[in-house]
Amino acid sequence: MTQKPLELILARNLMSALSTPAFLVDEGGVLVFYNEAAGMLLGKRFEELGTVGPDEWGSLFGPFDESGEPIPYDELPLVVAVRNGRPAHADFEISSVDGARHRVEASAFPILTAHGSRGAIAVFWPAGSSNGAGR
């Protein structure tokens, strides 16, 4: 068993109590948690999905730009935050498991400690939906 860093543990605890969709990746970019609100948005609970590697989660639910084209993984706010150690913000569409598109704004920030990066958090702010299924 590899112990998760305390900063990720506390982040998960906080996210679990939020009604705002939130995602958590570790320092390697692995998606290690998202909360119930994010699960409702995506149509799939984290417990059903489990951890997802950095090359996979970006394509699971889109995201798509205004013209409907997939956004490159490297440009996603969560990826920018964990790789560059900088906050990042973007708006885009994601696709839930039922195919519904949701327009969201995403703000991501890195989790930095005295020992370096632990990962990053992204909070999604649903801004409507292309088929009216927004939250």
């Binding site: 068993m1 590899t2 112990q3 305390l6 605890n13 005295a114 020992h115």
Partner: protein
């Protein structure tokens, strides 16, 4: 590895007739490694008596601080070896983005709170931030990891041969979490405590007291027992007693902890309350649980 409890109280020293058996000194645990090397875990007021017991020995010792709350450092300026020129003391503790370990401790060991400054200590004292990776002191492998408490706080694990000690005196692993349901790698401190020969863990509050102290950084009895069960430690000592708890109240809390432990399937003798002055010799984990002397 030998362990002696020099201070088991949390928050503030609480000497008096009502706290004689469990003790009134704040956190300090002495550890003698298999080669005779000496460690002190925290430097609460209990370290004063540890220093007196050391006489002129040893020439070098390590103090491992979990954090810098006063009940964990208050004894530093009353630690006799610090006033001997022939003594080398290495103080380990958590890093902080705000200031070095030395500068943060110097806020206490300086005027007007202290009659001496760090630079005036006669001993050869150095300060080191605990690394993320395991390191060695004598024959022991030391591991430090951040744990859930207020401010930068570490727990420690010391492995010497086949015996191991986990020391997490200030800890609230159940803050915002259900530690009975969480996956093990998501429980604060569990990686330090797993399969330890002896776990010394926060058990400050009764279950009835805890709701009024959520977020204060300490555990309820039930949370401490759950944590110990998840850790599968051979023996657990509940530590950091609340200063308001008398010996009689701690007797009752200890009884409740043992009952809860046994109900959860724990082994006989695996759960007790820490008492100042108690000594333990830690056997290899494959042998029986840590034996009190």
């Amino acid at each position: 590895m030998k362990v002696k409890l020099w201070g088991t109280r949390g928050s503030i020293p609480s000497p008096g007739p009502e706290t004689i058996r469990y003790g009134g000194n704040t956190s300090c645990v002495g550890v003698t490694l298999s080669d005779g090397s000496m460690l002190a875990l925290d430097a609460g007021t209990g370290i004063r008596n540890l220093g007196l017991a050391l006489a002129a020995e040893p020439a070098r010792l390590h103090i491992l601080l979990t954090h810098l709350h006063l009940d964990h450092i208050q004894g530093l300026v009353f630690f006799a070896p610090a006033f001997r020129a022939q003594t080398e003391i290495v103080i380990w503790g958590p890093a902080s983005p705000e200031a070095s370990l030395r500068d943060r401790i110097a806020r206490y060991i300086s005027a007007p709170l202290s009659p001496v400054e760090v630079r005036e200590l006669p001993c050869d004292v150095s300060f080191r931030h605990c690394p993320e990776a395991e390191w060695e002191i004598g024959p022991a492998r030391i591991r430090a990891a951040s744990v859930a408490h207020r401010g930068p706080t570490l727990g420690y694990r010391i492995d010497d041969g086949d015996s191991s000690l986990a020391y997490i005196p200030d800890h609230e692993p159940a803050l915002g979490a259900d530690i009975d349901a969480l996956e093990e790698d998501w429980i604060s401190g569990l990686g330090l405590a797993r399969n330890a020969s002896l776990l010394i863990h926060d058990g400050q509050y009764t279950d009835e007291e805890y709701p009024d102290h959520i977020g204060w950084g300490h555990s309820s009895l039930s949370h401490a027992v759950s944590f110990a069960r998840r850790a599968s430690a051979d023996r657990t000592l509940l530590f950091h007693h609340d200063p308001m708890h008398t010996d009689a109240q701690l007797d009752a809390l200890g009884l409740a902890a043992r009952e809860r432990w046994m109900q959860a399937g724990g082994a006989e003798g695996g759960m007790e309350l820490a008492a100042e002055g108690a000594e333990y010799e830690l056997p290899a984990r494959a042998a029986s649980a840590a034996s009190a002397t």
